[in-house]
């Protein structure tokens, strides 16, 4: 008979455990949503991305990997094409125009959008000029190829 209170106790423990587990699950769920929607109180900027990584860390990962890609790709460029390489890298670095377009885009004119407009102009000079000069050079090289 001494077994019965023990069984009772076991049952109680199991109930408590399941309750605890449920609470834990609830809490972790809350923690998740808190992570998703957590804003720093003064700035109301989301501090974390959905993935739980800060955007800077994600950016840094991409940056480092892209540096390696750049390293291996550029070493394979033949030295005779180093001038066109400079011209084309110059053209693609004008991808900064993405930022300029966003700056220039608001409906209402303000200081930022005017500055953004100039940035768009400068970057597009570079895009058109860079790709065309590269094209001119490469045409000359192609022409002399047997």
């Amino acid at each position: 008979m001494s077994n019965i209170p023990f069984a009772d106790k076991l049952e109680n423990l199991a109930e408590e455990a399941s309750e605890l587990a449920l609470n834990a699950a609830n809490l972790s769920g809350q923690a998740n949503t808190a992570t998703l929607h957590y804003y720093s109180p003064e700035t109301s900027i989301p501090i974390l991305h959905d993935s739980g990584f800060s955007p800077t860390v994600v950016g840094l990962t991409i940056f480092v990997l892209a540096c390696f890609v750049g390293y291996y790709v550029v070493w394979r460029v033949t030295p005779s094409l180093h001038s066109p390489l400079m011209a084309i890298t110059n053209a693609i670095s004008s991808v900064i125009i993405v930022g300029a377009l966003i700056a220039a885009s608001p409906d209402s004119m303000n200081f930022s959008s005017i500055i953004g407009f100039f940035a768009v102009v400068l970057a597009s000079v570079n895009i058109a000029g860079g790709f065309l000069v590269t094209e001119r050079m490469l045409t000359m090289f192609k022409k002399n190829l047997k």
């Binding site: 700035t43 109301s44 900027i45 800060s54 955007p55 950016g59 940056f63 480092v64 892209a66 540096c67 890609v69 390293y71 790709v73 550029v74 394979r76 460029v77 033949t78 030295p79 005779s80 094409l81 180093h82 001038s83 400079m86 011209a87 084309i88 890298t89 110059n90 053209a91 693609i92 670095s93 991808v95 900064i96 125009i97 993405v98 930022g99 300029a100 377009l101 966003i102 885009s105 409906d107 930022s112 959008s113 500055i115 940035a119 768009v120 400068l122 597009s124 000079v125 570079n126 895009i127 000029g129 860079g130 790709f131 000069v133 050079m137 490469l138 090289f141 192609k142 190829l145 047997k146």
Partner: protein
């Protein structure tokens, strides 16, 4: 368009840029690569235009049209000999537009969702804005000074004054302090001070660097323009800008490394600047003391020697670019080829004012791609060469780099023209090269000096060849 779709399109655009660079591994694939780059840029622009924040299409269209027209006109009109200046000028535009984007982001952070409605920004975002701004500003003024030096509006001699390095170090210190200050206070004063100090620093960094070190400077600025794009990419959390900036940055850094190696100098010594200034006086007095005469020849003799040769290697240098002698040179080479002479071109990695400068000029003059050899390929062939025709080059042929440990160019890889049976030097005068050192080659028995303008000399030789 949803942010997932736009991120995906940006990724495709990044891949296009990588393929574009990959295409440059051979001239046959290079043009396809360039088109790929254009496609990547078009995707990037259109993707951005479909973003929700972009509303005012009129002003954007106007901006794109103005910029595109100016760029097209410049690219079509530019002379190939002015290419180094053009590249420097384009770098300055990238730098300035990076600054502009940084300024716009600082004053309108909510447009890029890096700040709240009150315009308050996170410390990380402020740091990234400051970096983008500073690198952009250094690229901008540095490239303008480089442009001036290449164009000849600013003296290409190194500009050195006492306390220069202290001043530069001081400015770097001030810049770092200001960045820290900005991160803590987000004060517009600190922001603008960073801008102005970086502008001045950009000038001061390039001014002490002399003309023949320009390939290194141009590569360095190329690299900076990439890092500036990366900085802005971090600010705006745009992965395409980070990828592209990293590609461009590492490309410039590699070119810089190749150029430094071609001169056997450390990047740091180039940045410190002033190369070839001190050694000039010492060397001059030395050459005065040992008056050995050089053998001077004329075009007729040169034409005779070239005609008799069975193989000729032409070594072009910056002097050829200045005299615009590439067309006359190719004509001369064609005549020799018609007479059964094997003609090749040897290009030193640092010849000219930007990486690959000579290759472009020779390509412009329709020199067959296969005839143009690099340092390692050609050096093993000089022993079987009858005539080495050096036109407008000097330091890159100086044997002192191999056998005089006291020479400032000691250790620099050179073209072994001294192994050829005879050497012709087409030069304007006996003046020193950039390194300010005497070239022993001028005084050797098998060397013939041809004084005068490189282009006129080639034209005269052509007359005698006919």
């Amino acid at each position: 368009m949803g942010s997932t779709v736009s991120s995906f399109l940006y990724l495709i655009s990044g891949i296009c840029f990588i393929i574009a660079l990959r295409g440059l591994s051979h001239p046959a694939t290079s043009r396809a690569g360039n088109y790929c780059g254009v496609v990547g840029m078009v995707i990037a622009i259109f993707t951005t235009l479909t973003l929700e924040v972009v509303q005012n299409y009129a002003i954007i269209t106007v901006g794109l049209l103005i910029g595109g027209t100016i760029g097209t006109i410049i690219a079509r009109k530019i002379q190939m000999t002015a290419l180094p200046q053009l590249v420097a000028a384009f770098h300055s535009l990238v730098g300035l537009s990076a600054c502009f984007v940084a300024i716009a982001a600082f004053y309108q952070p909510e447009a890029y969702s890096i700040g709240n409605k009150l315009g308050l920004m996170k410390t990380g975002a402020l740091l990234e804005v400051a970096l983008g701004l500073a690198i952009g500003a250094i690229t901008f003024t540095g490239s303008i000074v480089a442009f001036g030096k290449l164009q000849g509006t600013i003296t290409s001699n190194p500009l050195i004054f006492s306390g220069q390095h202290v001043l530069n170090a001081l400015m770097c210190g001030v810049l770092i302090t200001l960045v820290i200050l900005l991160c803590y206070s987000q004060s517009p004063a600190a922001f603008w001070l960073i801008f102005f100090v970086a502008l001045v620093l950009g000038c001061c960094l390039v001014l002490p660097i002399g003309g023949a070190d320009m390939p290194i400077v141009v590569s360095m600025l190329n690299s900076y323009s990439g890092w500036a794009a990366t900085g802005i990419g971090f600010t705006l959390n745009n992965h395409l800008m980070i990828i592209t900036g990293a590609l461009v940055g590492s490309s410039g850094a590699i070119l810089c490394y190749i150029m430094c190696k071609g001169m056997n100098r450390s990047f740091f010594s180039v940045i410190i600047g002033g190369f070839g200034k001190k050694s000039k006086n010492i060397r001059k007095s030395q050459s005065e003391s040992n008056q050995i005469s050089v053998k001077e020849g004329d075009a007729e003799e040169a034409a005779f020697m070239l005609k008799q040769a069975s193989s000729v290697v032409i070594v072009p240098g910056y002097g050829m670019a200045v005299a615009q002698a590439q067309h006359a040179l190719r004509e001369m080479a064609n005549l020799l080829k018609a007479k059964g002479v094997v003609v090749r071109y040897a290009i030193h990695p640092v010849a000219g004012r930007m990486p690959g400068h000579m290759n472009v000029l020779l390509a412009e003059a329709n020199v067959p791609y296969e005839d143009v050899l690099e340092l390692d390929e050609v050096n093993i062939q000089f022993a079987q060469t009858d005539v080495a025709f050096v036109i407008g080059a000097n330091d890159v042929t100086n044997p002192a780099a191999k056998n005089d440990p006291s020479s400032p160019i000691y250790g620099m890889p050179i073209l072994d023209v001294e192994n050829a049976k005879s050497v012709l030097f087409a030069k304007r005068s006996m003046a020193f090269g950039y390194a300010g050192v005497e070239n022993d080659l001028f005084f050797r028995k098998n060397t013939l000096m041809l004084f005068g303008d490189a282009k006129k000399m080639c034209e005269k030789i052509i007359q005698y060849l006919n």
